[in-house]
């Protein structure tokens, strides 16, 4: 039996929506364990979301349509990206919509509107969050693109499906350029998804927060959408990394067995990556804002080294 072409899209988006909170729950649970606390359980993010969805919204009196529009847009970009990144299969009908550069653009538009929403109410926190977020993003985006360019130069394509295919067909030699690109990509993932050492997802301490500062005024289902989208963003960055650097397991054909295998591979990879993330997060402390230039500079340097080594050695 051959499922229709949009079957895989639906499965992917469903996996994204369903597994992103689970992944966050897994990461939080591990973090509690490594820090010697007892955790709220792996399912706590679902309960948080359910609670937020059932609550009423209290909107600031001067909130404009941008403030109300942003949660839907941020959520929409995450889902759209979930239909494009090869999570389970690289034979996606929506894949030609966007290559890697467009994906970076999609995340950028979500960020653009989040920052605007932060400024909409006119509190000092919102503006502070927006200013910091855009500053950090403007340093992170070149590094991100450089890292991705190195991968796409090595695979002669910027479309993710094609990259996966080339990695499958090619001899998987350990290339120095790819290693550098991977290191840069990890640093950028930590930055873009607001993890330690860049931003602390658990804190609400005013002086250190970045992403949280922008969404302080949100409540109810708006907040639920934003939180969910943030969870999906981490999930998607991990999936993007998997597709670019370690795609093994992603299905090429669309049949139930292949997709199921891909699903199992994905869950295993996520479990491992969660453990890795926790090692980084417990091993480091949050950096001061102006130390971040060094952090992101390091990411940029590694991505550039990767690209230079591609040009020189390959």
């Amino acid at each position: 039996m051959k499922p229709g072409p949009f079957f895989i899209e639906i499965v992917q988006v469903a996996a994204l929506l369903g597994l992103a909170p689970l992944f966050i729950g897994w990461v939080r649970m591990l973090k509690c364990w490594t820090q010697g606390r007892s955790s709220a359980g792996i399912l706590q993010p679902y309960r948080d979301l359910a609670k937020l969805f059932s609550k009423n919204i209290i909107l600031a009196e001067n909130a404009s349509w941008i403030f109300r529009f942003t949660p839907y847009l941020v959520f929409g970009t995450a889902i759209l990206a979930g239909g494009i990144i090869p999570i389970l299969s690289f034979d996606l009908p929506l894949a030609p919509t966007a290559d890697v550069i467009v994906l970076v653009g999609l995340f950028a538009i979500a960020r653009f509107f989040t920052a605007l929403a932060g400024m909409d109410i006119g509190t000092a926190f919102g503006g502070m969050g927006a200013s910091r977020e855009m500053t950090i993003a403007s340093l992170a985006e070149p590094a991100m693109l450089m890292s991705i360019f190195t991968v796409s130069l090595a695979n002669k394509s910027t479309s993710l499906g094609q990259i996966v295919q080339v990695i499958y067909s090619g001899q998987s030699v350990l290339r120095p350029s790819i290693i550098f690109a991977l290191l840069a990509f990890i640093l950028i993932t930590l930055t873009e998804t607001g993890r330690i050492p860049v931003d602390n997802p658990a804190t609400h301490l005013e002086l250190t927060m970045i992403h949280e500062a922008m969404v302080l005024e949100y409540s109810g289902r708006h907040l639920a959408l934003i939180e969910w989208a943030a969870m999906m963003k981490l999930f998607l960055f991990v999936m993007l990394g998997i597709a670019c650097f370690a795609p093994w397991g992603i299905a090429g054909t669309i049949d139930f067995v292949a997709v199921l295998t891909a699903f199992i591979f994905m869950v295993l990879k996520l479990a491992f990556i969660g453990i890795g993330l926790i090692f980084i997060e417990t091993g480091l402390s949050k950096m001061r804002l102006f130390r971040l230039t060094e952090f992101l500079g390091a990411a940029f340097l590694m991505a550039t080294l990767g690209m230079l080594s591609f040009y020189i050695l390959e």
């Binding site: 059932s54 009423n56 209290i58 909107l59 600031a60 009196e61 001067n62 909130a63 404009s64 349509w65 941008i66 847009l73 929409g76 759209l80 239909g83 929506l94 030609p96 919509t97 966007a98 550069i101 467009v102 653009g105 999609l106 950028a108 653009f112 605007l116 400024m119 909409d120 109410i121 006119g122 509190t123 000092a124 926190f125 919102g126 503006g127 927006a130 200013s131 855009m134 500053t135 993003a137 403007s138 340093l139 985006e141 070149p142 991100m144 693109l145 360019f149 796409s152 130069l153 394509s157 910027t158 479309s159 094609q162 005013e206 302080l216 005024e217 289902r221 102006f290 230079l308 040009y311």
Partner: protein, 681 residues
């Protein structure tokens, strides 16, 4: 066929030249004058758009020889697809801006006569049309001067302000330094073309036929590139741009930033790809490097501004840089005989030219609407305008998204194409350039991200939050004509963003004629919805699907969540429970860019001072704090100050010769005669 495109274009120029006479007749009744002239410039622009689209679409090349000009040196006009493309760009924005002007100029009525503005506005547009139609050096320079002089008077419109006079002077000086360089460049080319024997080399046709020795070609290219760069505002020749663009009336700023700079791009493309044709790769490298420097410096300068129009003016420097990156890449690819890649890069550059005209025009029109409503250009005083000017805010936002290169709007398409061109650089045989190119891609990425930061600031500070100034003026929404001008530009931005394959298919004839290769068979290979330069496996993008995806997901989420409609309560601002919040506590333009100022501060000349304000009751109990910040352009001190100083010194030295005494002058004559007797025997 009754008319050919070139006749339509000439007709439009004729209308624009007759308009000043009409303006003088109607000068008594300013209201009628504004309406009639806006209508006529709009019609003339529309005619040019028709001529341009027609020319490019059906690949016609029309020529006219006008027997005016100097004796025996008639004016040549030629409308080929390249000229047609620029005619379309200029005409389209002039059309939108003319509609906008009908409302905008009404704001001046009762304060000052607008006859002068209307007259020079028409001549300015006519000058730009003539520049792209010119087919000989003489007519080109005449048109170039018409354009420059008309825009000078437009910058000078509010000439009671000292700032405006200074800006206009700086503008006209740099424009003429550039014009001299262009004149010399044409002189070199015309000389080579006619073998220094006759005057016939002044037509572009003669230059096209000529084969230039490489050293003379280099001289000609460098001179013309210098001249055009001065017009385009390429760093380090950009200093006039942020002075002159903000002080002009906003409809003029829109045209100056949106399309006048593009005539310089046209000049570069025309001279390089059409007249000289064969060139070494390092010309392209120079263009590429200058483009990168302009892009990064332009956006960083823009981030430091708190004057809305000045900020936009610096963004023109940035976008001209991006266009030059595309042109530079195209030149490099051409010199290595990779015509398909060169065509891709040239298409990217031209597409960005069109895009920039649309969104920059839109943004300047929006800034004009804000200025019109609040009488304020300083963003530090603004805020919360989205509630008072919802239309302007939404349309300005479209411009912000487009210029920040975010999908699915148009700025993204052209930057994406440039990135694709960068990623094809491994095909180049020269190792040096292969090392340069990855850095270029990174700098372009940095530019895009900083532009997004800058427009979050511009939009957020101007339209969101609360009014930051002390007392808010009576703000009103822009009237229907201003709104419809902006609306059309915004729709064009979206259309260019979601239908790139059609536009590229239309303009593909330009690289086909200049470089002998086109990309549309590959760009539209997978159907009109998917933009796939080179090959579908290589990269693909569909703005339409992104837009539809947004709409579908948005609608789905909205309807699912509103089945059980949770009530939305409006309440006071929470702000972590802080109660005494006031409008002065908001982030403003200066504080928003503080982190970036700190990170990239070494590129600027920054003077920052913070402390208790003077003259207070007791210094131990400061009631008021004083913050002083001045960000200046280092290049002004490194390049322009020394030039200005030395020219003053030099002219003062010359001035010393003139003492106003007859005895001294007699001594001069005596020395001259002696010298002549000694040397000229």
């Amino acid at each position: 066929m009754i008319f050919s495109p070139i006749e339509i274009a000439s007709l439009s120029i004729l209308v624009l030249f007759l308009l000043p006479a009409l303006a003088v007749l109607l000068g008594q009744n300013q209201r009628v004058l504004v309406v009639v002239c806006s209508f006529l410039t709009g019609t003339a622009s529309l005619l040019s758009v028709i001529a341009g689209i027609w020319t490019v679409g059906s690949r016609i090349t029309g020529k006219i020889v006008l027997l005016i000009g100097l004796p025996d040196l008639p004016f040549h006009l030629r409308l080929d697809p390249l000229a047609g493309f620029f005619l379309t760009v200029i005409g389209l924005l002039s059309f939108f801006v003319s509609i906008y002007s009908a409302g905008y100029l009404r704001g001046f009525i009762g304060h000052r006569p607008v006859t002068r503005l209307v007259v020079f506005y028409a001549l300015f547009i006519a000058g730009m049309f003539m520049v792209v139609l010119a087919d000989d050096a003489l007519f080109f320079l005449v048109s170039w001067e018409v354009m420059a002089a008309a825009s000078y008077f437009l910058v000078m419109f509010e000439d009671e302000k000292r700032e405006n006079r200074k800006a206009a002077l700086l503008y006209i000086v740099i424009a003429h330094v550039g014009a001299i360089a262009i004149l010399l460049s044409f002189g070199v080319m015309a000389g080579i073309a006619s073998g220094f024997g006759s005057f016939n080399g002044y037509t572009f046709d003669a230059m096209r036929q000529a084969k230039f020795p490489v050293e003379w070609a280099t001289v000609a290219f460098m001179l013309s590139f210098f001249g055009f760069a001065a017009k385009a505002g390429v760093v380090p020749l950009h200093v006039w741009l942020p002075e002159a663009h903000p002080v002009a009336p906003s409809n003029v700023s829109a045209l100056m930033s949106g399309v006048m700079l593009k005539t310089a791009i046209y000049g570069i493309v025309r001279v390089t790809f059409d007249l000289i044709k064969v060139f070494p790769w390092w010309w392209g490298a120079i263009v590429l490097v200058l483009g990168l420097v302009s892009a990064v410096m332009g956006v960083l300068y823009a981030l430091m501004q708190h004057d809305l129009k000045r900020l936009l003016a610096y963004h023109s420097v940035e976008n001209i840089g991006i266009i030059l990156i595309g042109i530079g890449l195209s030149m490099i690819f051409t010199s290595f005989h990779l015509p398909v890649l060169a065509a891709l890069a040239l298409i990217a550059a031209l597409y960005h030219t069109l895009n920039h005209a649309m969104f920059k025009g839109l943004l300047f029109m929006g800034a004009g609407a804000v200025l019109h409503a609040t009488k304020e250009r300083n963003m530090e005083e603004m805020g919360g305008l989205i509630h008072l000017m919802p239309w302007t805010a939404a349309l300005f936002l479209v411009g912000c998204i487009s210029i920040s290169a975010l999908p699915p709007f148009n700025g993204f398409v052209s930057e994406w194409l440039i990135f694709q061109a960068f990623l094809l650089s491994p095909s180049l045989p020269a190792p040096l350039i292969r090392l340069l190119i990855p850095l270029g891609a990174a700098l372009l990425a940095l530019t895009g991200a900083l532009a997004a930061a800058c427009f979050v600031k511009a939009f957020g500070v101007t339209f969101l939050g609360h009014w930051r100034g002390h007392d808010r003026p009576l703000v009103h929404e822009a009237d229907w004509s201003m709104r419809s001008g902006m609306l059309m530009a915004a729709i064009t931005c979206l259309g260019l963003g979601i239908l790139p394959t059609m536009v590229i298919g239309w303009m593909d004839v330009i690289p086909e004629q200049l470089l002998g290769s086109k990309i549309s068979t590959s760009a539209g290979a997978a159907g009109w919805m998917w933009l796939t330069p080179i090959a579908p496996q290589r990269a693909s993008y569909s703005g339409l699907v992104v837009l539809l995806g947004f709409i579908v997901i948005f609608a789905a989420a909205y309807f699912i969540l509103h089945v059980k409609a949770g009530r939305i309560q409006r309440g006071p601002i929470w702000d972590c429970g802080f109660e005494k919040i006031n409008a002065r506590m908001q982030y403003n333009a200066t504080s928003f860019s503080m982190p970036i100022r700190r990170i990239f501060g070494y590129l600027f000349n920054i003077k920052e001072h913070f402390g208790p304000a003077p003259q207070q009751a007791h210094p131990a109990f400061p009631r008021k704090l004083h913050y002083f910040l001045r960000v200046r352009d280092r290049l002004w001190y490194w390049i322009y100050k020394p030039v200005i100083k030395s020219s003053y010194w030099f002219s003062r030295g010359i001035g010393n010769l003139q003492r106003g005494r007859i005895q001294t002058y007699l001594i001069y004559s005596f020395i001259t005669i002696i010298v002549l007797l000694v040397f000229v025997r």
